[in-house]
């Protein structure tokens, strides 16, 4: 069986994706698999054909790999792949859609509003930013509706900072999510092949858990299992399970939550193609659950292959 590890592409998260891809490639080769590493470009279909690829391990982060388009393509080509299908990917990729689905499934998620670039440019919402600011409660987090790795994310404490933050988010995606801030402990819960892994607690040593804190060794303190009351940990796991079902995920997923001072978990977003770098949350959770990185990659390959055989 030939496995293609697909990473890179021209997404703004290219570097993170290449790091994930390289690590997966080495792990699978270490397990004796025949692996070809592919950088996503216009030759993708040719490469898949030329190498007679049977299964694609998706290590893409950013638009192409996470919005469902690559998944749709692989479905059309009849090639098995790891991770969620096209629909679940598309639902999870758009943070406002995800939050809507979560709320309908009774998963707690902070209040939010969406401000689109069209509304600002075409319908006069930019000039009405003061009125909009009156309708939301500060502090809030402004982020691109689509995108990952905390890129374009800003904490906004006053009305005067709202417009610059929205413009900053628009650099990444033409719609900004204005999300209520929940103060508490940052938690990530990952699910692999339906099994919930121990939660990871995230504490950036200085400032927010931003891009630098995410990808610099030692800049963030991680605890896994998270230091949560067992009932709270159970509530987090249950919320992640509900999100998995509501979005229709398969194989792997990571949910990011904040546990507030009352012990209530609030889900912020769901990642169907989570980072797999040395500092990423999913591998930390897998390790805490007794699954080292190689075994984790092997598990994903197995479940993807078995599912395609059954189909």
């Amino acid at each position: 069986m030939t496995i293609a590890v697909l990473s890179g592409g021209s997404s703004l998260e290219r570097e993170v994706s290449l790091r994930s891809g390289k690590r997966v490639t080495e792990a699978l080769r270490g397990r004796g698999h025949e692996v070809v590493a592919l950088d996503l470009d216009e030759h993708l279909v040719d490469h898949l054909t030329d190498h007679s690829v049977d299964l694609v391990f998706l290590a893409l982060h950013g638009k192409a790999g996470e919005d469902g388009s690559i998944q749709s393509l692989l479905d059309l080509l009849g090639i098995a792949y790891t991770g969620s299908g096209a629909t679940a990917s598309a639902l999870a990729w758009d943070k406002s859609v995800t939050k809507g689905v979560l709320r309908r499934a009774d998963v707690q998620t902070p209040d939010w509003r969406v401000l689109s670039e069209d509304a600002v440019r075409e319908y006069g919402a930019g000039r009405a930013i003061a009125r909009i600011a009156e309708r939301v409660t500060f502090p809030l987090v402004v982020k691109p509706v689509q995108g990952g790795s905390s890129l374009g994310v800003r904490l906004v404490e006053t009305a005067g900072d709202l417009a610059p933050a929205v413009m900053s988010a628009f650099q990444y995606h033409p719609a900004a999510l204005l999300e209520q801030v929940v103060v508490g402990t940052e938690i990530a819960v990952s699910i692999v092949d339906g099994a919930t892994l121990p939660a990871v607690e995230i504490r950036a040593k200085a400032g927010p858990y931003d891009f630098g804190a995410r990808y610099t060794h030692g800049a963030t303190e991680f605890h896994s299992p998270a230091r949560l009351d067992p009932a709270v940990a159970e509530a987090c796991a249950e919320a992640a399970g509900q999100a998995w079902d509501a979005l229709g995920c398969r194989h792997v997923m990571r949910a990011d939550l904040i546990v507030d001072d009352d012990g209530t978990p609030w889900m912020l977003e769901v990642d169907t193609c989570p980072g797999l770098t040395e500092t990423s949350l999913l591998p930390i959770a897998a390790q805490a659950g007794g699954l080292n990185f190689e075994a984790f990659c092997e598990r994903l390959i197995d479940v993807a292959r078995n599912q395609s055989l059954a189909a």
């Binding site: 570097e15 930019g126 413009m167 998270a226």
Partner: protein
Amino acid sequence: MMTEVQLDPYQSRYARRAHGMTTSEIRALFAVATRPEIVSLAGGMPYTAALDADAVTAVTEMVIRESGATALQYGGGQGIDELRERLVDVMAAEHVRVHPDDILITNGGQQGLDLLGKLFCNPGDIVLAEGPSYVGALNAFSSYQGYIIHLAMDDEGLIPESLDDTIAALREAGRTAKLLYTVPNHQNPAGVSMSATRREALIDRAQRYDLLIVEDNPYGLLDFKGEQLTCLHEMDPDRVIYLGTLSKIFSPGVRIGWVVAPPPIRRKLTLLKETADLSQSNLTQYVAERWLATQPWLEQVERYRELYRERCDAMLDQLSLELPDDCSWSVPTGGFFVWLQLPDGMDSKELLPSALRARVAYVPGRAFYADGSGAQEMRLSFCFPTSDSIREGVRRLAGVIRDQVALREAFYGRQTPTKDDVR
């Protein structure tokens, strides 16, 4: 139960100077800039494809055939005599007179900067530098916990008068500046050269305030008109440490730079160089020496100069055609870079993702300041892409800037925003 996950078990052992080193968002975004569909006006890579490959092959073969055993051996700390003699000729082309014994060969000009940081900077020591300044120098001094204070510059380079207030303030605080770092010729990133009058005024003030100057001169021979201004080193060799490099006039791949310094400093630097890497690669030293000895290297410099002049013209023409009136930019007389000023309120770092989506890359201005300024500025390089690519890149960049102007107007109307609008 121990729950903490140690991703870096060595964290507590690192020296304080390593604590500030983090993964940057900008660096990650630049991973996209290497894609072929992106016009990169970001990197400062010399166009080495303009080298005569057959000549380089011949020279390399000559080295292996004639001096193979020596070239593949360890070398001395100061660098091989033969190359230091050739570098005297290179400096003579800029009318700088030095003796081969005064030269220490380093692994590119960058190692010279690192060794100077190591030799002079205690934590908190002050280094003066133009604002903006070469990012590699800022990083080198900062890695030894030097504290950078920027000096004002304009189209004629560093403004020597700006030293008066800075030095007065330092004296008031009981402090002195360890070094003054400057790139007088076709500065990276601003693209401008220090005028002859300013050079005299700077040396005059350096003598008055007892300052030690580091003159970094990678681009001196790349003046588009072939003109040269007197090097600071020539004006006061006891007060000026000179950094040279073959990276821009031959090849950055051979990693040949050099330091010319007063003998006590040069001796200390040689010891530090030996501690860092025992010796420069003998192999590339011999290749560089044979290149300078047997090839018409000044003709190659002329080829580079013409190429960069043509590309610079393409960039300047396109900037004039495409950019909104409230942008301004430097007009280089040589070197690799144009320094661009965006309209009020715009932030070049914020703009980068949009630029990358529009398939053009540049370096945001803040990279060239140690104090967080430069938000409204960016560096555009014209050394590597072809003239056609440069024109297309500027077209794309102009589209991004115009689009951003429109977005700002959608929020703020046409009036100029106040600083409070742009936090």
